[in-house]
């Protein structure tokens, strides 16, 4: 099986280049990450992030044949050769497939991704009804792998101003939470022309999300809530 992998070591290389690797693999249900680990055994200068190897930690997000995804849950059999692997687009490359996630996490932190509730903490948990809890389905599952945000052209053009799909999905996760008391502050924070409204609804995020989540829908719900309180 032939792989073409983006290589860049800022200490040694003047510019990035693609390097080919060949692996003799038996047909099976191997995941892309398994192949990458075999390639790294051949050439230990190849850098990549990985951890849980089962689509839960979000470390091995990369651009696979032009589409962002997690190497650990992408079956090799689903990929056309040569398999072209590049780092996530729109973030600074640290080395090879490893990117600097700071611009992504900076936007994530900016939406205050935690429950804001100023009531004195009760003796027991703050309870929700099953219906209230169901509002968080499709939101809490996000693993912050950045596949969606780095597939979004609006984030490429304005990474310092546009929150991006992952951050906005989480913003809605806390707006939708009945235990959270900061709804209007959260909406205020997103109501400028950049933070939310650079989203033009092209749905690259939905296409990229390896967990099958729908940031565009969450963004639509935030907009709907803003309309209801504005008109």
């Amino acid at each position: 099986m032939r792989f073409s992998i983006y290589r860049f070591d800022p200490d040694a290389d003047a510019s990035p280049y693609m390097k080919d690797y060949d692996l003799a693999l038996e047909a099976g249900d191997m995941m892309l990450l398994d192949a990458l680990i075999l390639i790294k055994a051949q050439d230990d200068s190849l850098s990549l992030r990985k951890s849980c190897r089962e689509g839960v930690c979000g470390s091995d997000a990369m651009n696979i044949n032009g589409k962002n995804g997690l190497a650990c849950i992408t079956p090799l059999s689903s990929l056309k050769e040569p398999i072209e692997l590049r780092p996530l687009p729109g973030l600074p490359v640290i080395r090879d497939l490893v990117v600097d996630m700071e611009p992504f996490f900076k936007q994530y932190r900016s939406i205050k991704p935690y429950l804001i509730n100023n009531d004195p903490p009760p003796e027991t948990e703050r309870l929700q009804s099953p219906q209230e809890r169901a509002e968080l389905d499709g939101l809490y599952e996000c693993i912050l792998c950045a596949c969606c945000t780095t597939s979004c052209p609006s984030f490429w053009w304005n990474p310092d101003k546009f929150v991006g799909p992952a951050g906005l999905l989480q913003a809605w996760r806390f707006i939708a939470d009945t235990r959270d008391q900061a709804t209007s502050e959260r909406l205020d924070d997103l109501e400028d022309p950049y933070r939310l409204f650079r989203c033009h609804g092209i749905m690259n995020c939905v296409d990229a999300c390896p967990k099958g989540l729908n940031p565009t829908e969450a963004i639509g719900k935030i907009k709907g809530m803003m309309v209801r309180r504005t008109v």
């Binding site: 609006s154 304005n158 409204f197 504005t230």
Partner: protein, 109 residues
């Protein structure tokens, strides 16, 4: 906390689109109804008040829609604040001029 006009631009874009879509359908129906068109028919059509109002609303919708769209494009791609402001002013001035011109064209006779 940022400026609070993001939602207004977004709403204006959608409402103006709806107004334009409605008028286009209506106007197409009127045109089909008067087919084949001649200068005289065209003149009689446009002497009717409701059609003039409709056309003016369509054009106001068009200019507002174009303003939000152009502003969006400039915000996406032009990152130097001075140049973006200059281009936005140019767009705004041209669209305002078109709007005034359209009033003259529609209501002159």
């Amino acid at each position: 906390m940022g400026a609070h006009y993001g939602i207004m631009g977004w709403l204006v874009q959608r409402i103006s689109a709806a107004i334009m879509a409605l008028f286009i359908l209506l106007f197409l129906a009127v045109l089909l109804d008067h087919h084949p068109l001649s200068y005289d028919i065209w003149k009689t059509l446009l002497s009717q008040l409701w059609l003039r109002i409709g056309m003016q609303l369509f054009l106001i919708g068009l200019f507002l829609h174009a303003w939000v769209g152009m502003r969006d494009i400039l915000m996406d791609y032009v990152h130097a604040t001075g140049i973006r402001l200059l281009l936005q002013v140019l767009v705004l001035v041209s669209l305002s001029a078109y709007a005034i011109w359209s009033v003259r064209i529609i209501w002159e006779n």
